[in-house]
C-alpha cells in the first residue's frame, strides 16, 4: 500500500474533482501503464481522454516506476497563449 500525490490540470480537474489529492495504490510501486489502469478504474470518465503523465515534473510513460510520495501530474493537451 502506498499513496501518491495526484495533480490534475486543465479539464482533467473536472474529472478527478480536485487539482491535488492523495491517491492510494494497493502496491509498493507501479509502472505508469499500471497507474493509468488504476486511474481509469477510479475515474471512468478519463477513458478516451488524451493526457500525458509527469512524475516529479518529468514526462514519463510505459514501464517507468511510480513510488510512494511521488508527485504525479495528469496533463491534457496544452492551450496557453
Amino acid at each position: 500500500m502506498m499513496e501518491i500525490r495526484l495533480m490534475s490540470y486543465g479539464g482533467l480537474k473536472d474529472i478527478t474533482g480536485s487539482d491535488a489529492l492523495g491517491f492510494a495504490i494497493p502496491q509498493q510501486a507501479v509502472s505508469v501503464t499500471e497507474l493509468k489502469e488504476l486511474l481509469l478504474a477510479r475515474y471512468p470518465a478519463l477513458e478516451g481522454k488524451t493526457f500525458r503523465i509527469a512524475v516529479n515534473e518529468r514526462f514519463v510513460e510505459g514501464e517507468f516506476e511510480v513510488g510512494s510520495g511521488d508527485n504525479v501530474a495528469l496533463m491534457p493537451p496544452f492551450s496557453g497563449g
Binding site: Y9, G11, E57, A73, F78
Partner: protein
C-alpha cells in the same frame, strides 16, 4: 545573454498595454538594437453556438512551464543572435479584448528578431503546460484547444 536561473514569465490577470509601452521605452537606451519584433495574444470573444466567450481563465503547471520556457530561451539564443528576449503570460482571468501573452524579441537586424519571435510564440503554444478555460456568460465554460 540569458541567465541560468529560470525567469518568471507569469503575471496575474491581463497584461497592461501601459506595461507593454513601458517595456518598449526601456529599450531606447540599448542603442545596439536595430529591430524589435513583438507578438501580443489577445483573448478573442469566440462564439460557440449561441454563447460568446467573455474571458479565459489560465492555469499552469508553473514549475514545469518555467523550466521548459528556460530551455526554449536557451535554444532560441543559441539559434538566433538576439540582443534580448522578454516573455509574459497571464494566469487567472483575462477578459475578451485584453492581452494574455506578450513576446518581445530584439536584435541588431529585423530578420532574426522576427524569426525568433515567431518561433518562441509557436513553442509557447505547443510546449508550455498552460491551460485556458473559456468562460461564457453565466457559469458555462469549455476548455480551450490550441490549433496546430
Amino acid at each position: 545573454m540569458s541567465d541560468k536561473k529560470p525567469k518568471n514569465i507569469f503575471v496575474e490577470g491581463p497584461i497592461s498595454p501601459v506595461k507593454i509601452g513601458e517595456d518598449i521605452a526601456h529599450h531606447q537606451k540599448k542603442t545596439n538594437i536595430g529591430a524589435h519584433s513583438i507578438f501580443m495574444g489577445q483573448v478573442r470573444a469566440d462564439s460557440v453556438e449561441a454563447a460568446k466567450v467573455s474571458a479565459i481563465e489560465y492555469t499552469a503547471h508553473q514549475e514545469m512551464a518555467l523550466s521548459t520556457m528556460h530551455e526554449i530561451r536557451e535554444a532560441i539564443f543559441a539559434k538566433y543572435p538576439l540582443t534580448c528576449l522578454h516573455i509574459t503570460h497571464s494566469l487567472g482571468v483575462v477578459k475578451a479584448g485584453e492581452i494574455c501573452l506578450f513576446v518581445f524579441a530584439s536584435a541588431v537586424h529585423r530578420k532574426e528578431a522576427i524569426d525568433a519571435c515567431e518561433e518562441v510564440v509557436e513553442r509557447i503554444k505547443k510546449e508550455l503546460p498552460i491551460w485556458g478555460k473559456e468562460i461564457f456568460a453565466g457559469d458555462q465554460y469549455q476548455w480551450k484547444e490550441n490549433r496546430g
